[in-house]
C-alpha cells in the first residue's frame, strides 16, 4: 500500500509540474518574447482556458499527500512554513495577474500585471525547484518528527541548513530554466509566425543553459547526499531514468530544430517527468530524510495512513482520475490548435 500511494502522489505532483509548468514557463518568458500588446494577449490566451485546471493538480496532489501520509504533510508544511507562505502569496499574485490584466484598458495597469505575472511565475519556479532540493538534501528533523527551517542561514548544507543554500539555489535555477524551456516549447506549439520563431530561438538558447544545469545538478545531489544512488545500485535498471533524461534533452533540441514543435514539447514533458522520477527513486522509501541522523528520517512506513482509509481511497481516486482525464480531454480538445485573437478572451 505504501508503495502504491508513494507513486500515486508522485504521479499527481508530476502532472502538476508538467501541466502548470508550461503556464509558469509562459509567465517567465512573457516580458522577453512578446514585443507588442497583440503578442502579449496571444501568450495569455495560450494558457487562459487551462491554467486554473492545471493548478488544481497542486491542490489535489496536496490533499492526497495529506490523507495518505499525514505526518509527512504535517511536518513538511509546518517546517517549510516561510517558503510555503511566500508560495501562497505568489500563487495569489499570479492568478490575479492573469485574470485582472485585461479588465481595464489602461497601459500602466496592464504593464503592472505583466510585471507581476513575470515576477510571480519566475519566483514560483525557483521556490519549487528549491523545495525539491530541500527534500533531497534533507532537513534537521527533531525526535518528534518536526522541524522548522529559516529561509537561509549561511548558505551551506551543514546540519542546520536554511531553505536556501547553494544546493537548493541550484535546484531553483534548474527549475527556472527547465520551466522556461517547457513554456517556450509550448508557445512554439500554440503560436504562429514571428512569435513562434522567437519562441523556438529562445528554446534553443535556454537549452544550452538547461544542459549545463542538469549536468551540474546530478553530481551536486550526490555530494549533498551520498546515498542518493543506493536504490540505483540495488536496481541497476533504474539507470534507465538518467538515460531517459539525456535522451529527452537531446530530443527537445533535435525536434525543435526540425520544427516538430509538438514532439519537442513532448520531450520536455518527458524530461520533467524523468527528472522527478529520478529524484523519487533516490528518495524511496524515505519521504523526507533527516540531516540529524537516519533514525529520524520520515519514511513511508512511519507515516502511512490506516489501511481502510487507503483502500477506500484507491477506489475513489481511480474513479476521480478517470473523470479528471475526461475533463482535460474535453477542454484541451475544445481549445486545441493555434491560439488567435479571434473570439473572446484575454484582451481588449
Amino acid at each position: 500500500m505504501g508503495f502504491i500511494w508513494f507513486w500515486l502522489v508522485a504521479i499527481m505532483l508530476v502532472a502538476y509540474v508538467v501541466l502548470d509548468g508550461f503556464d509558469i514557463g509562459v509567465g517567465i518568458l512573457h516580458p522577453f518574447l512578446a514585443h507588442n500588446e497583440q503578442e502579449r494577449q496571444l501568450m495569455l490566451r495560450s494558457i487562459g482556458p487551462v491554467w486554473d485546471g492545471n493548478e488544481v493538480w497542486l491542490l489535489a496532489g496536496g490533499g492526497t499527500l495529506y490523507f495518505a501520509f499525514p505526518p509527512l504533510y504535517a511536518s513538511a508544511f509546518s517546517g517549510f512554513y516561510l517558503a510555503l507562505m511566500i508560495v501562497l502569496w505568489l500563487l495569489i499574485g499570479r492568478g490575479a495577474s492573469i485574470e485582472l490584466r485585461m479588465q481595464i484598458n489602461i497601459g500602466v495597469w496592464k504593464s503592472f500585471f505583466d510585471g507581476l505575472f513575470f515576477f510571480s511565475s519566475a519566483v514560483l519556479a525557483i521556490f519549487y525547484g528549491a523545495a525539491l532540493a530541500n527534500v533531497i538534501r534533507g532537513v534537521p528533523l527533531h525526535q518528534d518528527g518536526y522541524f522548522f527551517l529559516p529561509l537561509w542561514t549561511n548558505w551551506r548544507i551543514g546540519p542546520q541548513p536554511g531553505i536556501l543554500d547553494w544546493y537548493t539555489v541550484i535546484g531553483g535555477l534548474v527549475a527556472l530554466v527547465a520551466l522556461a524551456e517547457h513554456g517556450a516549447l509550448y508557445l512554439a506549439v500554440k503560436t504562429e509566425a514571428a512569435l513562434q520563431q522567437r519562441s523556438r530561438t529562445m528554446a534553443h538558447r535556454l537549452w544550452v543553459l538547461l544542459l549545463l544545469l542538469t549536468i551540474v545538478s546530478l553530481p551536486a545531489s550526490i555530494v549533498v547526499r551520498a546515498d542518493t544512488l543506493a536504490n540505483y545500485r540495488a536496481y541497476p535498471i533504474a539507470f534507465l531514468v538518467p538515460a531517459a533524461v539525456v535522451l529527452a534533452l537531446l530530443g527537445m533540441l533535435q525536434f525543435s530544430r526540425k520544427g516538430a514543435d509538438g514532439k519537442a514539447f513532448a520531450c520536455s514533458c518527458v524530461y520533467l517527468t524523468v527528472m522527478l522520477v529520478g529524484a523519487a527513486l533516490g528518495l524511496y522509501p524515505r519521504l523526507l530524510p533527516s540531516t540529524t541522523g537516519s533514525q529520524y528520517d520520515i519514511t513511508i512506513d512511519k507515516s502511512l495512513s490506516g489501511p481502510h482509509t487507503l483502500h477506500v481511497g484507491l477506489i475513489w481516486w481511480a474513479f476521480g482520475m478517470c473523470l479528471a482525464l475526461l475533463y482535460f480531454i474535453i477542454v484541451y480538445r475544445t481549445f486545441r490548435g493555434k491560439v488567435s485573437l479571434e473570439g473572446g478572451g484575454y484582451g481588449h
Binding site: 491542490l59 490523507f67 505526518p71 501562497l88 502569496w89 490506516g306 482509509t309 476521480g320 474535453i330 473572446g344
Partner: protein, 452 residues
C-alpha cells in the same frame, strides 16, 4: 502574544475572507442555471443577457475564491500541524476528494461556460453552467464533511501511532451533522446570491438604467430569496439547532447565554453576557421560548453552562453569544424583507415601491455578515475542542511555528487581501456600471472579463 491565539486568528481571518467569495459563487451558480433555464424554455434572450452579466461577476468572485482558497488547504499543515498529523487519515480524505471531484470539474466547465457560448449549442452551454453549479456544490459538500467531522466525529478508529482512521467511508460522508450543516450552509449561500442580485436589480430600477434587466434580477432574486431565507430558519436552522443542543449542549448554553440550567428556559433577545457574574446584563428575554424551540415544550429543562466544567466552556464566550445573535437577528430581518418584497412582486407593485427597493439595494452586505456570524457560531461553539471531545485546540497548532512568525504572515495576508479587496471593488463596480449590454456574448465581444 499567545501562539495558539495567533494561529486561531490566522486561520479565522483567512477563512472568513475566503468565504466571502464562495458563498456568492455557490448561490450564484444556481441562479445562473435558473436564468439559463428560463432563457431556453421561454426562448427569451433577455435571460441569456442576464446570465452573461452574472457570469462576469461570477468569474471575478470565482478567481478570488480560488486564490484565497489555496491557502486554506495549506494551513492545516503549516499552522495546525499537530492536528493534521493525527487526523489526516480522516479529514485529508474529503479534502483530497474536493480537489479530485470538484475543482477539476469546475475549472474545466467554467472555461467552457465563459468562453464557449458561440461554440456550443444552447443546451450544451446550459450544461456547462449546470456542471459549474454541480462542481461548486460538491466542493461545498466536502468542506462541510470535513468540518462536520471536527464538530461531531463519527466512523473513526484510533491507530497504534495515535492517528485517526476512517472505519466507514459512507459513515463519514453521511454524518448526520454534515447533512444538516450542508443544507443550512447552502441555503445561506443562496441567500447571499439572492440579496446581491436584488441589490443590483434595485439599483438599475431606482436609477432607471437597464430597467428591463433590473426587473429580471429582482424577480429571480426575490423568489430565490424568499425560499432560501425561509429555509434558513425552517427546516434547516431549526433541525441544526436541535441537533446541536443534543450533541454540543455547552455550545448552545453559551450561544443563548444560559448560565444555569432551568425548566422553561428563556430566550435572550438582547443583552450582554457577563462571565464574571455569570449573568446577562441589560437583558430583554422571552420566557419558555428556548425550551420550546429545542424540545417542543415550554416546560422542558435546558442545560446551562453550570453543568459543564469551566475548562469546557467555549471561548471567547461573548463573541459566540454575539455572533449567534447577529446571525439569528439578521435571519429574521431577511425573512421579513423578502416576504414583503415577494408579496409586492406578486401584486405587481414591487418595481414602483421605493421604500422596499431601497432596503433591497442596501441590504446586500447583511447576508455576508450573517453567513460569517453563523460560521463563527459554529467554530467558536466547538471550542475548546478542535475535534469535539477528542483533540483540544491547544494541542493542535504547530509548536515550531512561533507566535511572531504567525503574526508576520497574518499581517502579510492582511496586506495582500486589502489590495485584492480594492481591485475587487473597482472591477465589480465597472461591471455594474457598464451593465448588461444588449446582444453581447461572453465570448464574442471586445472588452470582457473572462476566466477559465
Amino acid at each position: 502574544m499567545d501562539a495558539m491565539l495567533l494561529h486561531r486568528i490566522h486561520f479565522a481571518f483567512t477563512v472568513i475572507y475566503h468565504y466571502l467569495f464562495p458563498q456568492l459563487t455557490m448561490g450564484l451558480a444556481l441562479l445562473i442555471v435558473v436564468l439559463k433555464t428560463i432563457a431556453i424554455r421561454h426562448k427569451d434572450e433577455r435571460y441569456n443577457q442576464a446570465a452573461r452579466f452574472w457570469g462576469k461577476i461570477f468569474a471575478i468572485n470565482f478567481l478570488l475564491g480560488v486564490v484565497t482558497g489555496i491557502p486554506m488547504e495549506f494551513q492545516f499543515g503549516t499552522n495546525w500541524s499537530q492536528f493534521a498529523r493525527t487526523t489526516g487519515g480522516v479529514i485529508g480524505q474529503p479534502l483530497a476528494m474536493e480537489g479530485v471531484f470538484s475543482f477539476f470539474l469546475e475549472s474545466a466547465f467554467l472555461g467552457l461556460f465563459l468562453f464557449g457560448e458561440k461554440r456550443l449549442s444552447p443546451w450544451k452551454h446550459w450544461g456547462a453552467a449546470f456542471l459549474v453549479f454541480v462542481g461548486s456544490w460538491i466542493s461545498g459538500f466536502f468542506i462541510i464533511v470535513t468540518n462536520a467531522w471536527m464538530q461531531h466525529p463519527v466512523a473513526y478508529a484510533v491507530l497504534p501511532n495515535g492517528g485517526y482512521e476512517v472505519t466507514s467511508f459512507w459513515g463519514l460522508l453521511s454524518n448526520p451533522w454534515a447533512l444538516l450543516e450542508y443544507a443550512h450552509n447552502m441555503s445561506g449561500a443562496v441567500v447571499t446570491a439572492a440579496f446581491v442580485m436584488c441589490s443590483v436589480g434595485a439599483f438599475y430600477v431606482l436609477e432607471n438604467r437597464f430597467p428591463e434587466q433590473g426587473k429580471i434580477f429582482l424577480r429571480v432574486g426575490v423568489v430565490a430569496g424568499v425560499i432560501s431565507c425561509a429555509a434558513q430558519i425552517f427546516p434547516t436552522g431549526d433541525l441544526h439547532g436541535r441537533y446541536l443542543a443534543k450533541h454540543q449542549p455547552a455550545a448552545v448554553a453559551a450561544m443563548e447565554g444560559l448560565f444555569s440550567s432551568r425548566q422553561g428556559a428563556p430566550i435572550v433577545l438582547i443583552g450582554q453576557p457577563n462571565e464574571e457574574q455569570q449573568s446577562i446584563d441589560n437583558p430583554i428575554v422571552v420566557n419558555d421560548v428556548l425550551s420550546f424551540l429545542i424540545y417542543g415544550t415550554t416546560k422542558a429543562e435546558v442545560k446551562g453552562l453550570d453543568e459543564f466544567p469551566r475548562d469546557q466552556w467555549p471561548a471567547p464566550l461573548p463573541l459566540l453569544f454575539y455572533s449567534y445573535h447577529i446571525m439569528a437577528g439578521l435571519g429574521t430581518y431577511f425573512v421579513l424583507i423578502m416576504v414583503i418584497a415577494a408579496f409586492l412582486l406578486w401584486r405587481g407593485k414591487l418595481f414602483q415601491t421605493r421604500w422596499v427597493l431601497w432596503p433591497l439595494l442596501l441590504s446586500f452586505p447583511l447576508p455576508y455578515i450573517a453567513n460569517t456570524a453563523g460560521w463563527m457560531t459554529a467554530e467558536i461553539g466547538r471550542q475548546p475542542w478542535m475535534v469535539y471531545g477528542l483533540i483540544r485546540t491547544s494541542d493542535g497548532y504547530s509548536k515550531y511555528v512561533t507566535a511572531s512568525t504567525s503574526l508576520f504572515t497574518l499581517l502579510g495576508f492582511m496586506g495582500i487581501y486589502t489590495v485584492t479587496s480594492i481591485l475587487f471593488i473597482v472591477l465589480v463596480y465597472r461591471i455594474i456600471d457598464k451593465g448588461p449590454a444588449i446582444g453581447e456574448r461572453l465570448d464574442g465581444s471586445k472588452s470582457l472579463p473572462t476566466l477559465a
